[in-house]
Amino acid sequence: MNWGSASEFFAMGGYAFYVWGSYGVTALFLVLEVVFLMARKRTITQRLGRRIRMRIEVNNEAQT
């Protein structure tokens, strides 16, 4: 174990700004990439879903 206490852990031997600045930004960007990607996926499937339902309705009306 490297750390005597929680505050010692967060202080990172005086390198707190640099270590947490690196890990924090990396975590933030990786999470943001996933969030944006999920949003993109949802937008596309919703748009395509609407278009497919519309096509089915048009086909049904043409048959009656």
Binding site: G13, G14, Y15, V19, T26, V34, L37
Partner: protein, 246 residues
Amino acid sequence: MAINWFKYSSPASFYPLAGKLIPYFAVLAAVLTVIGLYLGFFVAPTDYKQGEGYRIMFIHVPAAWMSMFIYLVMAVYAGLGLVFNTRLSSLMASALAPTGALFTFLALWTGSMWGKPMWGTWWVWDARLTSELILLFLYIGFMSLKAAIDDPRRAARASGLLAIIGAINVPIIYKSVEWWNTLHQGASISITSGTSMEATMLTTLLVMSFAFWMYAIAVALVRVRCEILEAEGDTEWVAAELSSRR
């Protein structure tokens, strides 16, 4: 067991396969990240020269490796797309580019955060840093070129050519610390001479690299499914695929 690989070069059969694979890579990425962070902060000892500041290495080096590796994979897909004219290849190249650019940015960012306390500067225009910055511009150029051309076939061909030509930059980045005088330290791990690192530090580095690798695969597979849907939105199989899930 014979697998017909060409079967999976068709978007219609790759889409459901990718969907099945994503959860495995996502779980692997999450588990490896937890293990890697635990090793990196609680098991790996304090560095005798750099104190606790060296722990930035555990994300800086994997991010830098992934930035180069993803570029090469992207260039290979672009090349396959040019040679075999398979639609999926150029979609895979597009799916990899944003994640590669992200890792390049993170390599530069964490490098800067590491350089300031250890070298006394955020940035120097030396070979390693400059060639990594060029890599970021290559990713951005690839994505912008592809987005700028309306016809998807021509867009794939032009951006594919850019990706392949740009691949020359990757060995330059890798060898830059040997070819030029630089502030950046030499490779800590080498195929020919082994490693100059303490064992737990090396293990942590490898675990974090695999975590980033699995993350990149999971994200690229989600993105290639988006690309496939956008390219093939009006086909019958997409209609069947999307309505079967309801």
